[in-house]
């Protein structure tokens, strides 16, 4: 039987390929047959680039042979959330309004992975325009949680998380506006990182909320997370909000001790409301950190209760403008029923966008409209300042903050409440991080009795992904359980 290359991490694959133990082509074929085997059940991919991936793998093999190519991700098969622009295939954000859209350019992150020798397997499913937390808002298909196919994979980057968890990709790229990387990573039991705002170029990321969006990796372990971040981070002249700070060698964060490191527990996050198995697992993880020599301190984030209101004002306002360009003029869906200009706009947009997207556009338009700007948008931006200040102050007392990623594990498909407000409230632990623009990492810290992964979230100071990775790596190596592989049946 052929070796199960698809089980390996990115750094293991890279080392095997560069060490001559296996060809990139063999690795790629291994992943492609894994996809063939399980994706009809998981439904992580909306498009698989079979032929392109094989010819790319051959190219990498040839470059290794002829030029001595030593890319950091040489031969590593990667999946890409359908919100990132790629010249290969389609870029649809899993929306009817972009069905068949071909981007004339690659996102900066895609270019950077390409230069590092990655092999792209295809595009993954997501909530339409990244709006949702279960991937059920995709206009294309439902994605299932590899740990239990009756459960959602989380969202909005559910396809990316599921593809990594189900060993259908070594790593994946997702986007995170209010938790869209960390929450599905938690649901699917992988490592997911939302870098500091500005750390990674957003050029080529179809915008949801420009001041909150950030691209980040899904990986099987913390080392891969460091590897991926080091590859995609750095200033890009095409993104004016990307920061011109040197990119450290994030792998230097690995295999370090965390003695004396101060770990903050926000009082506001560990209230009565957080109960059950999630709380147990998080507290267990915190005890592990203590055993490793970390000092646990209580910190305060007093404006936590306002974060959801602030978030939904800002993200919908920005989304209402960002999604205005989908009008059926230059690309995308145009309603065949439209006979005049007004109909072209109204019918194309109403038929092209799904209900959650329409709801957020309406809300965002409302909070910006004449007479309401000060009461909602301006007010939210002011409270956002307070939320950021909370974190800056908290980080005077600690080096990282630990929280659950989500108050609950993945829920059953179709079980989600019809009440959008209740849905929004479940994002409580992830959205403040985007508002404060700090980095956040989610990693598995155990399973529920029902066998679903639970996510531990680590938060760091602005641009201090190093410390985040250091703590995550130390915990991963000492957490006392192996994440294993989902059964998928």
């Amino acid at each position: 039987m052929a070796k199960e290359w698809f089980r390996l991490t990115a750094h293991e694959i890279r080392d095997a390929v560069l060490g001559g133990a296996v060809s990139a082509e063999e690795v790629t074929r291994s992943f492609l047959s894994r996809i063939e085997q399980v994706d009809s059940k998981v439904c992580a991919y909306v498009d698989v680039w079979r032929d392109a991936a094989i010819s790319r793998a051959r190219e990498i093999d040839a470059r290794i042979r002829k030029e001595g190519f030593r890319g950091a991700l040489a031969g590593v098969p990667i999946s890409i959330k359908d919100v990132l622009c790629t010249k290969q295939g389609y870029t649809t954000c899993c929306s009817k309004i972009l069905r068949g859209y071909r981007s004339p350019f690659d996102a900066t992150v895609v270019e950077r992975l390409w230069e590092a020798g990655a092999i792209f397997l295809g595009k993954t499913n997501m909530d339409e325009f990244a709006m949702g937390s279960s991937t059920e808002n995709s206009a294309v298909q439902l994605t299932r949680n590899p740990w239990n196919l009756d459960y959602v994979p989380g969202g909005s980057s559910g396809g990316s998380a599921a593809s990594v968890a189900a060993d259908e990709a070594a790593c994946s790229l997702g986007s995170d506006t209010g938790g869209s990387i960390r929450q599905p990573a938690a649901c699917c039991g992988c490592v997911g990182l939302k870098p500091t705002y500005g750390r990674v170029s957003r050029y080529g990321l179809v915008a949801f909320a420009s001041s909150l969006d950030q691209i980040g990796p899904f990986t099987k372990d913390v080392e891969d997370c460091a590897l991926m971040l080091g590859t995609i981070a750095g200033r890009d002249p095409r993104d004016s909000t990307s920061v011109d700070l040197p990119v450290p060698d994030y792998c230097q964060a690995l295999n370090k001790d965390i003695k004396g490191l101060r770990v903050g527990m926000p009082r506001e996050y560990f209230t009565e409301a957080l109960g059950g198995e999630v709380r147990e697992k998080i507290e267990e993880a915190i005890r592990s950190l203590e055993k490793l020599g970390a000092e646990v301190v209580e910190v305060r984030l007093p404006h936590t209760e306002y974060a959801i209101a602030v978030y939904y004002i800002i993200c919908t306002a920005e989304a209402s403008a960002n999604l205005a360009r989908f009008d059926g003029v230059r690309y995308g869906y145009r309603s065949p029923r439209a006979t005049d200009m007004r109909q072209m706009y109204h019918l194309s947009r109403s038929e092209g966008f799904g209900p959650e997207v329409r709801r957020r556009i309406i809300l965002g338009t409302y909070v910006l409209s004449s007479g309401y700007y000060d009461a909602y948008y301006l007010k939210a931006q002011k409270v956002r300042s307070l939320i950021r200040q909370d974190f800056v102050k908290a980080f005077e007392m600690c080096d990282v903050i630990v929280t659950p990623t989500s108050p609950t594990p993945a829920f059953r498909i179709g079980e989600k409440t019809d009440d959008p407000l209740q849905m929004y409230l479940s994002d409580i632990y992830t959205i403040s991080v985007n508002l404060a623009a700090i980095p956040g990492l989610s990693m598995p810290c155990g399973f529920t009795k029902g066998g679903l992964p639970v996510g531990l979230q680590l938060l760091g100071k602005h641009f201090d992904e190093m410390t985040l990775l250091r703590v995550a790596d130390a915990y991963e190596k000492n957490r006392g359980f192996d994440i294993g592989h989902p059964p998928i049946n």
Binding site: T241, R349, Y376, V383, L421
Partner: protein, 98 residues
């Protein structure tokens, strides 16, 4: 007095260039009304002395040089157009009154 009336929804839908059917309008008025009510929570805070956080990071003056870069070929520019004559993007006749 509801937070959001159907008329409000209609006004905003017009601004956003969306057409909604009657039932959707009513449902949205209700849903968004309760979301807005929740958002009124922010009024508990006195923010008169707080500067709004207009940008995620404190940076200024990020510019590019005035250099011409290659444009797209017209075929590629038009490749996704729902309607084109090979030169222009075509839209239903624009009337001055619109």
């Amino acid at each position: 007095m509801p937070k959001l009336t159907v008329k409000d929804v209609e006004y905003v839908a017009e601004l956003a260039h969306l057409t909604l059917d009657g039932a959707t309008k009513e449902r949205l008025a209700q849903e968004l009304g309760s979301i807005l009510e929740y958002m009124d929570k922010l009024n508990e805070l006195d923010t008169s002395q707080v500067e709004p956080m207009m940008h995620a990071l404190e940076m200024t003056n990020i510019f590019r040089c005035d250099e011409v870069q290659p444009s797209l070929s017209r075929d590629v520019a038009l490749q996704n157009a729902p309607k084109t004559d090979g030169e222009y993007f075509l839209v239903p006749k624009i009337l001055d009154t619109e």
